[in-house]
Assembly symmetry: C2
Homo-oligomer: 253 residues x 2
């Protein structure tokens, strides 16, 4: 929670630089070897939990704003964020209203405004990134998706909607290029899908469907050294993978 002086300065700066009534929230899912996490900020002292979020500069493209916000709040860079929904309930910022409404008159108070928030999500390998909070606002932590703290505002609903969008995406777009090693076995890829969907999948159906997408190529090499029959190794066929990212899977009807 800001002091009155800090609030006044923040609001005056915000009014000058940002589009009013519009915010951005980022849901960054992290995957590594069968574990799913999500990146959250914890306000210092207050202890309240939020998604990383911020505002759009007056002349800034919204995709640029989303990446800047994520960088400022978490130290994360160059993450491909996917827009998934705008949350536009007029009551959604009410907790902000209540928190700050007595500290500054409404006309000067950025936080008593209504904000529509544009939701973005990403899925990254959490092992490869080191979130670092900015100086004044927060700690920045990977939290277990199955054991989340209580989130402020409507951030729990935003996170749930992002997870639904990610799960739907598995049906029409490829996933995993930045998460899998260069070569992987079908069971390793299946583990990624099972972790995102939080359910066990049938091995044969999974293999048939994945091969049907036309984004995998099978290596001449087998994986050596295991106790079982050596499994085939696969890698992503990048041209098809990227085309499917843009246009969705083709020729499946």
């Amino acid at each position: 929670m800001l002091t009155k002086k800090e609030l006044k300065e923040y609001c005056s700066n915000a009014r000058e630089n940002y589009l009013p009534h519009i915010s951005i929230d980022c849901v960054v899912f992290g995957f590594h070897e069968g574990l799913m996490k999500v990146l959250l900020l914890q306000i210092k002292n207050g202890g309240e939990w939020y998604l990383p979020g911020g505002f759009v500069l007056k002349k800034e493209p919204i995709e640029t704003a989303a990446n800047r916000v994520l960088k400022e709040r978490t130290g994360l860079n160059n993450i491909f964020l996917q827009q998934f929904h705008v949350f536009g309930d007029p009551e959604r910022s009410k907790q902000h209203f209540d928190m700050y409404k007595d500290m500054l008159p409404a006309k000067d108070n950025w936080f008593t405004n209504r904000f529509l928030t544009i939701g973005y999500y990403a899925l990254v390998d959490f092992y490869n990134v080191n979130p670092a909070p900015d100086q004044f606002s927060a700690d920045c932590i990977w939290c277990d998706l199955n054991n989340l703290p209580e989130l402020k505002l409507d951030h729990a609903a935003i996170l749930k909607t992002a997870l639904d969008a990610l799960r739907l995406q598995l049906n029409y777009q490829p996933i995993g290029y930045n998460l899998m090693p260069k070569e992987f076995t079908m069971p390793e890829l299946q583990k990624l899908y099972e972790t995102i969907l939080d359910e066990k999948l049938d091995r044969r159906n999974f293999q048939r469907r994945m091969l049907g997408f036309g984004i995998l190529k099978r290596s001449e090499q087998l994986r050596r050294g295991g106790a079982h029959k050596a499994p085939y190794l696969y890698s992503f066929e990048l041209e098809n993978y990227n085309a499917a990212l843009k246009e969705g899977f083709k020729g499946r009807w």
Copy 2:
């Protein structure tokens, strides 16, 4: 194009009632017996073509705004609109800037603001709806998707993005309840998908995939009276259909 007096009145009213910097655009696709159309507005006299669009009232949920805008601009009511993307390039409203910038000083001129626009789409039976333009702005017409007039602003890109979203939706959500008769044959349903995708589909793959979704039930009755072998009749299993609308198709991995 508005006169200076009309513009002044419009802008003063808009500033009082609407959230600044946010607009809504609606892409309404119409289907009937193998034809796809899209609903466009033509400005009177000017002859320019636009998607139906408008603004969000200061205390209005954005979904309510989308339906109100569509109703005001086209006479269409009770259409389920699906949010699909926010277009946030800072230059996207440039044609509006240029059109009105000399008529009013920027501080009074609503149209020289930057607008992010929230895109919504719907798919309806165009045979059942009679679009009626509002009194002052436009004609409202179903246009052939394959033979569109030139659209102003970035509306051609918005329409293209909506069509891509609709086509992707076929992979993860059901479609057609408000478009098909109560009972229909598999080739009739296939025709709907072929029209949306604008391509011929394989009969057997289509049937296998549709049945796999678990949203159809087969009637005891066959369709009688044709020259060929009587085909099976199907209807939608509404409980599963509605669940899949909310959560995407299940159990497909």
